[in-house]
C-alpha cells in the first residue's frame, strides 16, 4: 500500500487553479521528485500535503487515512509529515539546538534531557556538532538548511517534504545539502521533493513527476522521463533546462 496517496487534489487561490486534480502515489521508502517550471504548482502541492494550504477538493491519504478532510485538526498529520523550506525558515531568536528541540518539547512534552542524546547525535551525523549553540544568522546557508532538516527529523516524521531546498543556496553549498538527502534515502526515509536539481533527481529519485499547470502530466522512473519522455511539454521543459 502506498505510504502517501493523493487523489484528485484541487487547490485554488481565488480564480487561479494551482493544483488541478493531482493524483500521486508515494511508496514507503521512496524518493519522489516533482519537476516542472516555476508556477507549475510543485510548492503548493507540497504545502497542501502538509495541510499548510486548504485543499478545495480531493483526498490525501497517509497510511490509508484521509488527512485532508475539511475541519480535521491538521496537527496529527503534521507530526508525521515533516517539511523543509526553500528559505530554511529557522527561528532567528533561537540557537540551532533550540530550533531543533522546540517541537519535540512542546508537541510531545518531552524534557530537554529526554531528547538531548538523540538530537545531539543528529547534529553529529550531519557534521554540525560544533554549531549547535549558534544562532541562524551565524551559520552559512548550507548549515542553516541542514539544521532545518535536523529540525524536521527530530520529530521522527514518516514522510518529509522538501520544497526546493537548494534553490536559495550558493552553488558550492548545494552539495552538502544534497548529501544529506542521499543519507536519508539510504535509511529508507519516504521523501517528496520539489526540485530544480535535475542531475540529482535523475541519480537519486525513484520516481519523477512532471507538473504543468497544476497537473502531473507525466510520471515514471528517472531514466524513462529524462531519456524517453512521451509528452511534448516534458520534452520541451527538459530541453530548456539542459541548455
Amino acid at each position: 500500500m502506498a505510504k502517501l496517496k493523493l487523489r484528485n487534489v484541487v487547490k485554488r487561490f481565488g480564480d487561479v487553479t494551482v493544483c488541478n486534480g493531482v493524483n500521486l502515489d508515494v511508496n514507503d521508502g521512496q524518493m519522489v521528485c516533482l519537476i516542472g517550471a516555476s508556477g507549475a504548482g510543485k510548492s503548493t502541492l507540497l504545502r497542501c500535503i502538509n495541510l499548510l494550504e486548504h485543499t478545495e477538493d480531493g483526498e490525501i491519504f497517509l497510511d490509508g487515512e484521509d488527512i485532508a478532510v475539511p475541519g480535521l485538526n491538521p496537527q496529527a498529520a503534521r507530526k508525521k509529515i515533516g517539511m523543509v523550506f526553500q528559505n530554511f525558515n529557522l527561528f532567528p531568536h533561537m540557537t540551532a539546538l533550540e530550533n531543533v528541540m522546540l517541537a519535540p518539547r512542546r508537541v510531545y512534552k518531552k524534557s530537554r534531557t529526554d531528547i538531548e542524546v538523540e538530537v545531539v547525535s543528529l547534529f553529529n551525523r550531519f557534521g554540525l556538532a560544533d554549531r549547535m549553540a549558534n544562532y541562524p544568522d551565524q551559520l552559512s546557508g548550507g548549515q542553516q538548511q541542514r539544521v532545518a532538516i535536523i529540525r524536521a527529523l527530530a520529530m521522527r516524521p514518516e514522510v518529509i517534504l522538501f520544497d526546493e531546498i537548494t534553490s536559495a543556496l550558493d552553488p558550492q553549498l548545494v552539495g552538502e545539502v544534497l548529501d544529506v538527502l542521499l543519507q536519508l534515502k539510504k535509511q529508507g526515509m519516504t521523501m517528496v521533493l520539489a526540485t530544480h536539481e535535475m542531475q540529482f533527481a535523475r541519480q537519486a529519485a525513484d520516481k519523477i513527476c512532471f507538473l504543468k499547470d497544476g497537473e502531473i502530466i507525466e510520471e515514471g522512473p528517472p531514466d524513462q522521463i529524462f531519456d524517453a519522455p512521451t509528452q511534448a511539454a516534458t520534452k520541451e521543459f527538459l530541453m530548456r533546462v539542459r541548455k
Binding site: 496537527q75 527561528f91 517541537a103
Partner: protein
C-alpha cells in the same frame, strides 16, 4: 602595514578628507553665527529684561529646584506602576484582536472597540472623565483616590496605542515563520507564544520606547485632577512667587530624563535597521 599606508593615499580617501574638513568648517561657522545671533539679538528685544526676570530667574530656580525634583518622584512612581500594566494590557488587547476562532468573536470586537475608543479620545478627556467620574461614585477609600483612577486613565489610553504597535509587530513576522512552526506540529497557540511573539516583541522595542517617553510626559496630565506632581508643584510656585521660572525648571527636569531615553530609543532603532539590512 604597508597596505594600510597605501590605502590612506587613494584618491578617494584624499577626497573624503577634504570633504570632511570642509563640512567641519561650515558646520562650526554656521553654529557660531546662530549662537551669536541668539545671544546678542534676543537680549536686544524690548521685553527681554522682563522675560528674563520671570522665566530665567536664577535665584527662583535654585530655590524651587529641589522641591520640583521631590515632586517629580511622584511622576516617576506613577510612571513605574503604569508602564508594566500598559505592557500587559496592551499585549492582551493585541492578542485579543488577533484571535480567529468564531467563539472568540466578542473578544475581537471588544479589542477593536477598546483601541478605537481610547485612541480616539484626547488623553486629557479620558483623565478627566475617569479621574473625576469614577471617584464620584462614592467609593470608599482608597478606591476614590485620583492617583488610582488617573493612572488607570493613562493605562487605558496608552494600552490602546501599545496594543496597535504590538499588533503591527505580530504582522511584521514573516508568514514563513508561522508555516515552519506549524509544519512541525505545533498548535496555533504554541506558534504564537514560541515563534511569533518573541520576534514581534523584539521588532517593536524601539517604538515602544517612544511610547514610554511619551507616557513619562503625559503623567503630568494627572495634575489636572489633583495629584501634586511636578507640573502642579511648579504651578504652586508660580502663584507663590509670581514667577514662571519653576516651569522652566520642570522642563529641565523632564529633559534630563527624556533626552537620554530618546537617544537610547534612536540607538535601538538604528541598530535594528542595521541588523535588517
Amino acid at each position: 602595514m604597508r597596505k594600510t599606508e597605501a590605502a590612506v593615499l587613494t584618491r578617494r580617501t584624499l577626497f573624503e578628507q577634504r570633504q570632511r574638513r570642509r563640512s567641519i568648517v561650515i558646520a562650526t561657522t554656521s553654529t557660531v553665527l546662530v549662537l551669536v545671533a541668539l545671544i546678542v539679538l534676543v537680549p536686544m528685544t524690548p521685553g527681554w529684561e522682563k522675560v528674563q526676570k520671570s522665566f530665567f530667574n536664577g535665584p527662583v530656580l535654585i530655590k524651587t529646584f529641589p522641591k520640583l525634583i521631590e515632586a517629580f518622584k511622584l511622576n516617576v512612581m506613577i510612571f513605574l506602576w503604569s508602564a508594566p500594566m500598559i505592557a500587559i494590557l496592551g499585549l492582551l488587547v493585541a492578542l485579543a484582536r488577533n484571535v480567529k476562532s468564531p467563539a472568540m468573536f466578542p473578544l475581537r470586537i471588544l479589542g477593536a472597540t477598546f483601541t478605537d475608543v481610547f485612541r480616539g479620545v484626547p488623553v486629557i478627556l479620558t483623565v478627566y472623565l475617569i479621574g473625576f467620574g469614577v471617584p464620584g461614585l462614592g467609593l470608599p477609600r482608597p478606591w476614590n483616590s485620583p492617583y488610582i483612577w488617573g493612572s488607570i486613565a493613562l493605562i487605558l489610553t496608552y494600552s490602546a496605542y501599545v496594543a496597535e504597535i504590538f499588533r503591527a509587530g505580530i504582522d511584521s513576522v514573516h508568514p514563513s515563520q508561522r508555516a515552519a512552526a506549524l509544519s512541525l506540529g505545533l498548535s496555533e497557540r504554541q506558534v504564537m507564544r514560541e515563534v511569533v511573539l518573541p520576534q514581534a516583541v523584539r521588532n517593536v522595542v524601539p517604538s515602544q520606547m517612544n511610547m514610554l517617553i511619551a507616557l513619562q510626559k503625559d503623567v503630568s496630565l494627572l495634575s489636572f485632577i489633583g495629584p501634586v506632581e511636578i507640573f502642579r508643584q511648579a504651578g504652586v510656585f508660580k502663584s507663590l512667587m509670581a514667577n514662571f521660572t519653576p516651569y522652566v525648571g520642570a522642563a529641565i527636569i523632564f529633559l534630563l530624563v527624556t533626552i537620554p531615553a530618546t537617544r537610547y530609543a534612536d540607538y535601538l532603532m538604528e541598530r535594528q535597521s542595521r541588523e535588517r539590512s
